[in-house]
């Protein structure tokens, strides 16, 4: 067993008044078990709770043609395991007032728990068994599928609930990042408990996974406990090829995907282009620039579309970064009749950004991102998630500890470079969900329009070769 200790265990992480101005990641211990499971332990004693996050390589990028498989597998974990029936699992969780659940996303499945330090042995016992030995009992699996299918149908009533699936289908085309994590009614229907069992066998493995435990415990004791509990988890052979590493060809011409929602009273839209990978060296500078452009109340987008014109309740822009690549998008919504006025204003703001950002505005953005940064890492749950993300996406404590320094280096000249490189105004793609009969003609000025019906099962863009 190779042990890597990054830091000395400390018993108190209270930040003293003199250290107030600079936020640092609290100390933690990291080591790897013989079976390859990476373990991070961080003591936090403000409340007598413990948070756990365990991330596994099981992810929607491995769903293949069985969209929704990864998510159904994760949701089934609490439905029964080798040593506990479904009722036993749920009784124990609820009696302890604990949370123990799992969800799946594009690049990992995360099992998360939060519980009283006093009940840790019970919850750790459950957590281990549901991760290593779930049974995927057929009757329970079918019930889950029925609920999932109903929720997929309900989601189609809400543009916010489905817009990302269309966007990923449009931007990532045949790449695995386009897999809809919740699945489709047709694919969920065809997935069996046995499929989930096989998926589990292949992707729930200690090597390549990470567990972070943050909260009220003693590190030496916890280390012994976790080593005992997860040490017997059998190491899987070989490594899992990552299909997301395949190159992505994003659409380049001017394209519009118009999704018809017959009863829409408003148009919900994305405008965007290729973005960045999570470990991009310019990540912090991009965050500062995007803060000015569309990521705070006084951002140029919100100021123009909401405050100055009252066209919408909100407009923003964001970078959704994955391990290998990501997208950039402007998002907003407005009454059907003001659709094009609003989109045109968003494009005007995009044009204005190309001229650069003055230093006073940048100073404000720098202060803003630094000022609020610590609140993202305040709770044991936030810190456990951070320690998982650092492992998955390959960044370290320097992201936190050097954040302020990196932010301070975003000068107007640097901002200009960032804008030219990451906020290019050509190659923009448009996605509109609304009443097609009223916006079809107007949409044509932005590019080739391809239409879909929101009630269709698939999000896939027909004729996407043109994109």
């Amino acid at each position: 067993m190779k042990k890597i200790t990054l830091s000395i265990i400390i018993t108190c992480v209270c930040i003293t008044a003199s250290a107030q101005q600079k936020f640092q990641l609290p100390k933690y211990t990291t080591f790897r078990l013989a079976n390859g499971l990476t373990v991070n332990l961080m003591e936090q004693k403000e409340v007598p709770l413990i948070s756990v996050a365990l991330s596994l390589p099981a992810a929607t990028i491995h769903d293949g043609l069985q969209a929704g498989l990864s998510e159904l597998t994760a949701a089934s974990l609490v439905s029964g395991s080798k040593n506990f029936t479904k009722d036993q699992i749920q009784d124990k969780i609820d009696f302890a007032g604990a949370t123990l659940n799992a969800y799946s996303s594009q690049e990992f499945t995360r099992v998360y728990a939060r519980f009283s330090a006093k009940t840790q042995d019970i919850i750790f016992g459950l957590l281990k068994d549901i991760v290593i030995n779930p049974t995927f009992e057929e009757k329970e699996f079918e019930k889950l599928k029925t609920r999932k299918k109903a929720s997929l149908e309900v989601a189609k009533q809400s543009p916010f609930s489905v817009i990302n699936y269309y966007w990923n289908a449009m931007m990532y085309a045949n790449h695995v990042y386009s897999n809809p994590s919740s699945g489709l009614i047709s694919t969920v229907n065809a997935i069996t408990a046995d499929d989930a069992k096989k998926f589990h066998e292949k992707y729930y493995r200690p090597n390549g996974s990470v567990i972070a435990i943050v909260g009220d415990f003693n590190t030496a004791e916890m280390k012994a406990k976790i080593t005992g509990l997860f040490g017997e988890w059998k190491k899987a052979s070989g490594t899992i090829p990552n299909p997301a590493a395949e190159p992505v060809k994003m659409p380049e011409g001017a394209n519009v995907l118009l999704v018809n929602k017959g009863d829409a009273r408003e148009t919900t839209f994305y405008i965007g282009a290729k973005g960045i990978a999570k470990n991009n060296a310019d990540r912090v500078a991009i965050e500062v620039v995007n803060t000015v452009f569309g990521d705070r109340f006084t951002s140029w987008l919100n100021d123009e579309l909401r405050v100055n014109s009252g066209l919408t309740y909100g407009a923003m822009s964001r970078f959704d970064a994955n391990k290998y690549t990501g997208t950039f998008k402007i998002l907003s919504f407005t009454a059907t009749k003001t659709t094009f006025q609003t989109i045109d204003k968003a494009l005007e703001v995009m044009n204005r950004l190309q001229k650069g950002i003055d230093d006073t505005t940048l100073q404000s953005a720098r202060n803003y991102v630094v000022g609020l940064f610590p609140t993202d890492f305040e709770t044991s749950g936030q810190l456990a998630a951070l320690l998982n993300d650092m492992f998955i996406y390959g960044y370290d404590a320097a992201y936190i500890n050097d954040f302020e320094k990196n932010v301070s280096q975003v000068t107007p000249a640097k901002a200009k470079e960032i804008i030219a490189k990451y906020f290019a105004k050509d190659k923009l793609q448009f996605l509109l969900i609304g009443k097609a009969d009223e916006i079809r003609e107007g949409a044509k000025k932005y590019g080739i329009v391809i239409e879909k019906e929101i009630k269709e099962d698939s999000y896939e863009v027909k004729g996407k070769k043109t994109f």
């Binding site: 007598p48 124990k92 009696f95 009252g310 709770t379």
Partner: protein, 440 residues
Amino acid sequence: MQIKKWGIAMLMTIVLSKGYSQLKPEDVKTFTLPNQMKFLVVEDFSIPNANMYLFWKVGSRNEYPGITGLSHFFEHMMFNGSKKYGPKQFDKTMEFNGGANNAYTNQNVTVYTDWFPAKAMETIFDLEADRIRDLAIDTQMVESERGVVASEKSTGLENEPKTELWELLFATAYTTHSYRWPVIGYFEDIKNWSKDDLQSYFNTYYSPDNCVVVVSGAVKFDQVKAIAEKYMGSIPKNKPPKPMNLIEPEQKGERRVFVKKDVPTFNLMIGYHVPPTGKADYYALDLLDAILTNGRTSRLYKAVVDSLQLATEISSFTENSFDAALMVVDATGAKDKDPLLLEKTISDQIEKIKTEGVTAEELQKVKNQKLITFYGQIETINGKSNNLGIYEVFFGGYKKMFDAPQEYEKVTIDDIKRVAKTYLKKSNRTVAIMSPQVED
């Protein structure tokens, strides 16, 4: 058998953990300015940040037809310019100093929330004091904000079809009290209120004695007090508003409403009148609520979602209220199932509690859940400010927050049975169903 043994052991360990939490009543320090603006302060240096939560005791319950939605609209206008900091300057200044803010309005209160690095506290006080003392209502800003609020209402309806049913439930359960209209107001009223309505609302309700301010974070009590005195001490009090005097008459028979809508699965809501927050039977009702729907082992989840599969989701909720509140059971129907069968199954489960009661273990379970929820709520500086403010405003004093674990502990099996019988009865309920099939 094994579960039960473990259950008893757990019961003991959880009880022992009580009182462990770092936050104690003496950690909350208070002062009141001569204008009766009250402050609660919690020093917490776990991160170099602080917050300020301002709880104004005004919400849609203070409105009347013609100005429905004005409390919420007013909340928006508080960001649109005052004497020293003109239009846009509130947000610009706060963000330049590394802070952010938001606000929310409900039936009872309007709450403004500021989050900032601790070193920016004085600026935050300056900004808040300026708009509380000298809000300047700009006609042009009123017009653009109308569009914003119309969009806010519209996007709520667009993305959450249940909104329509929720509004109808309240409109039916309340015939007299102002809880009967939606917080965001009627579209017609949003279009029609005037600058005078806004000014008069400001003069009536935004008086310092109508506000409780909570500050938590990396700040010292003495420093907060000195800055508060400097910036807010001289804000004059206004004439006290006329008290809201509407009382909802007792409901004397079941009410039923239907909405025909092309939804893939039906929605069912059942609302029961219950006493105001923090008043009689509050803790017993809160535990009954958890017994019904909190977690996968709750009575209703087990019966209607897991076992009979009549619904895909079920929850229940009672909003904090100054006046008699509504406890709402909210279910999303399963595909092709009968709403009336779901309704009957829910009723049968409630009847069972009335006749047979609940088990000791079940009661202990929800008490344990409440304790863990409480710790979760005070883990962050924002959770601290929010909870202290809510207890101060709705429960008659922030100290009650620290009594909550004991209050829950006192609730007995008989209390649960009794409150189920008293409040969850047919004559006291309103049933609302949204479905594609409605009898012509």
